[in-house]
């Protein structure tokens, strides 16, 4: 485990971070809202248009903090071969989750995620469930709300990412460099309403951040 953590650290320090910051470039607004990942767990929520999203969000943190961050990713996409499973779970630290609805209890379905959160680690989750069309925020799935309900004292941090849909859109293999923007909102906590309302609340925050970006563009 230590060996893989070392590899992950080196991977981010020497390859992914220089790539994200120098080759692409990031503007962060609301950087003060970024959680202190090494001290306490949190749930980072963002819109999803490209594979870059995950690398971008992780690169916002220090390399030692990155070890504590686990993106939640679709098992059917990232773990369909043994090699992919090995690379993504060991080197990027993803938590594979099945997208197919099974008959299982909630506790069972979110077992891996809850374990990580209770161990003080942070997760990144994309409630859209898949990479959507660029510039469109599709319907949020309620998984985040369920996780937040089970861990009411862990903050949920909604983010809006702009740019990766131009850098590497879904279905493309050619990268084109652009500067990406990340908007980080203040943390919210599960408020004992219903999972449906909480999902709506998170979506409206991401929508608000998106409008903020649009306003900046159309000034």
């Amino acid at each position: 485990m230590i060996f893989f953590n070392f590899l992950k650290y080196m991977l981010f320090l020497f390859i992914i971070k220089p790539f994200i910051y120098l080759v692409l470039g990031v503007n962060v607004s609301g950087a003060g809202n970024l959680p202190k990942v090494d001290k306490s767990p949190s749930i980072i929520v963002a819109n999803h248009n490209s594979h870059i999203d995950t690398l971008l969000l992780m690169s916002l943190f220090n390399c030692s903090q990155i070890l504590k961050i686990h993106p939640v990713a679709a098992a059917d996409y990232f773990c369909n071969t043994k090699f992919k499973r090995f690379v993504f779970t060991k080197l990027l630290g993803i938590i594979p989750i099945s997208r197919k609805v099974r008959k299982a209890t909630e506790e069972e379905l979110f077992k891996d995620i809850n374990e990580k959160l209770r161990a003080g680690e942070t997760i990144i989750i994309y409630p859209e469930g898949t990479r959507g069309e660029s510039n469109e925020l599709s319907k949020f799935k309620s998984g985040v709300a369920h996780i937040a309900r089970m861990n009411p004292d862990i903050p949920v941090i909604p983010c809006y990412i702009n740019g990766p849909d131009k850098i590497l859109p879904k279905g493309e293999i050619l990268w084109v460099p652009f500067i990406a923007d990340v908007y980080v909102s203040e943390p919210v906590y599960y408020d004992n309403t219903s999972t449906k309302e909480f999902t709506e609340k998170i979506r409206s925050i991401v929508e608000f951040l998106k409008l903020e970006h649009k306003k900046k563009e159309e000034l």
Binding site: S134, V176, P177
Partner: protein, 318 residues
Amino acid sequence: MEHFIITENVKFMLFGLYGFLFVLMGVLKFLQFKKKNVDNWLIRVRSFIFIVVIFTVAFCTNKICAFALITLLSYLALKEFFSLTPTRKTDRRVLLWAYWSIPVQFYIIYINWATLFYLFIPLYVFLLISMRMVTIGNTDGFLKSIATIQWGLMTSVYALGYIALILAIPFKYNPIGGSLGLLFFILLITVANDFMQMFSGKMFGKHKIIPKVSPNKTWEGFIGGVIGTTILSMLIAPVLTPFTLLQSAFCGSVLAIAGFFGDVTMSAVKRDMGVKDTSSLIPGHGGILDRFDSLIFTAPLFFHYFAYINSIVITRGH
């Protein structure tokens, strides 16, 4: 490995610059100690010292390092420009071609093929980009799109390429400073001009010069900058360049005016796109395009003025 000759005069000016920055930092620290609000200035000067150190290290190491730095600079500038302006989704591949023109152009300058450099971006890349865009076939906003891409290339790649071309000036034309001395001169004059225009604008600024583009720019700032830059040019040109006093005064004033227009041109683009800074890469300064916008206008002018005075033709084999 090819090195640049660093003459005694260049060393002298470098020490002078570092001494000046050291004193400036000391003064700011003292003001901060006196509870004056100089945090912004501290961030700015710190970033500036960082840039100066990177430049010194790269240019004093060897030619490859120097060219790598200018290439990187040009890439960052072009990336900022493309991120700033709206681009069509179908143009992704065209943009990739535009990016690839950067290493090619700097390789052309590296091998001293100046005649090809003069035509590469303005003619060949211009034709290639049109060709690539036509093969994609999206005609909605075709002309606007192609003009935007070409404008980005002309400013961020072609004009900044002159920084590298100045390095290709043979040593014999400037025995007291070499090509490094000329580059040092133009960088110093451009940055000092930006600073002096801002400074005298803050001190005496009253009458707006182009309020629609840049409301903070004033006639007083502009004139103060031109006078200050001319004087500075007359002071440092004898150390770094072979100019006579009259030539350095003329050069200084022309560069000051050009620098001003570089600044406001980029301001106009930023205003058009509704942003304040092109990116947040350099703390306190904004992006590469914010910092090097004046250089886009001054570097080609300086090169051609110097070439005119000395009747220089740069060809392969020098």
